[in-house]
Symmetry: C2
Amino acid sequence: MLVASIYLRKNACSRELLTVFGTVALDTTRTPFRTETRILGGAATFASISSSLFARTSIVGVVGSDMPADQINAIRSKGIDMRGIVTVPGGKTFHYDSTFDYDLSNRITNKTELGVVAGFDPVIPDEYAMSDYVYLANNDPKQNIKILQHFQKPKLVVCDTIEFWISGSREDVVRMIKMADGVVINDNEARLLCKEVNLAKCAKNIMSWGSKFAIIKKGEHGAILFTNENQVFPAAAFFLDEIVDPTGAGDSFAGGFLGQIACKNKFDFATMKEAVIYGNVMGSFAVEDFGVKRLLAITKVDVEERYKRYRNLVQF
Amino acid sequence: MLVASIYLRKNACSRELLTVFGTVALDTTRTPFRTETRILGGAATFASISSSLFARTSIVGVVGSDMPADQINAIRSKGIDMRGIVTVPGGKTFHYDSTFDYDLSNRITNKTELGVVAGFDPVIPDEYAMSDYVYLANNDPKQNIKILQHFQKPKLVVCDTIEFWISGSREDVVRMIKMADGVVINDNEARLLCKEVNLAKCAKNIMSWGSKFAIIKKGEHGAILFTNENQVFPAAAFFLDEIVDPTGAGDSFAGGFLGQIACKNKFDFATMKEAVIYGNVMGSFAVEDFGVKRLLAITKVDVEERYKRYRNLVQF
């Protein structure tokens, strides 16, 4: 009985709400082995499905009437609060068409059709306003800044960004980072943003704008967490023999990371390190199949199993 | 008393001999910040200095009469058995001239002057014949194969190779790997050798030629150990804020790895994992200054301290 109650206590999750804002998209993904056309994708989709395994999650985004209902239902099936999804009648859902080269590490963008995302004026349902945790997934930094005003007193705001916004709206990206508590960003995008090659210097640079921590994602090489208290945590990626589609790995990482933090309802260094590993675990699931297919199929038991396997894997 | 004796036993090193064969060179290394001309370098130099902190080490190599005596004495100062160093009167020492780009991750070869290394017919002093551990550092695979015949019954032979030999003498490289027990190789060189991008597949491919394990070095991203029993160990690199000269990091890794194995005189999976971490630690020291400068300056106490720091760093 004692063991059971300790187990329950240890695995108990807070009921804090995590709200994810970003693109809900249709992706056309071409690998040398297969092409999948207009499948469910988008940064907020991956992040929210991932975080839903850890914490109470709600999503904000916009889609067109071309988004199939069963795709929206797939997200809903994970218990995610969908009241923040706006459907624009007659509008076109954000569509991202890309091709991976034969080692699945380089991606060429064929087409980015913003559709209803362009000019979207994000509002959030009243029920989301008290969210303690907010994840601003890759999206127009202006929209990300705007939506922040709707949250009353979030404990932790984390954002991501990509080359598209860094190249086109760098000042807005910096402004967004100044308003966030933490940044999760790819290595090359950190380099582009900071005009600096050394990743430690990039992280320091980002944190000098006011963010308390920066996580640099390095794809198959894992991630490094830096804090403004000079703490560092490099984590190797979970090792996979084979990957199918790298799309969404970073967003799934962010969802797992912030989901675990929302679950624990704290973000001391030890919790953040654990959360980075959960992030790695979620990224490793995401790439095992096209789109969100694998993320939709797994349960928390699978996640905990892989977390344990990861721990064994890197132990020495 | 009990504690002390356990401590001693735990830290005791075997007296097994590790012989390192490979280039002893003069390097001209150009970084955007500084150029160092004709400084002590070479795969065998880095590997043997590194391994000397762990195990009784001897070295085999060839130099010309242009190799300054103080450089040879610097290697000797680490207690390395130098009887295997042949000096060719009037000959030119192997000279490698290269330039690193501004992020110190890409290197351009300006000049490779083989000098006395070309056509070297390696022999070993009789005292080396009973070596239990042999490291064939990057070198002409034909010479590496040839020297193997001089060892009576080594317990473990590990080899490395680089693009130069893979491109020019691939069949000899494969033949060398077939004769070795383990391979330590850079990621891109593994890809080139195996004509395959996925590193797990590269490792399997290499092991299919008969080697029992393969370690893929990934520079700043650490290393992955694969065994022919399907074991995998991914290890993040020790985290450094700044690097000065990446030359020799991989050779220092190999020296630390095999040195630790020779010290323990066993190579089960647990020992190999520990040895990979020591390899990472030695690589991290090597890059902190030009050439072998930093490696020459450190003691085993520094190594153990950094090993502990590494353990703390990656713990979660």
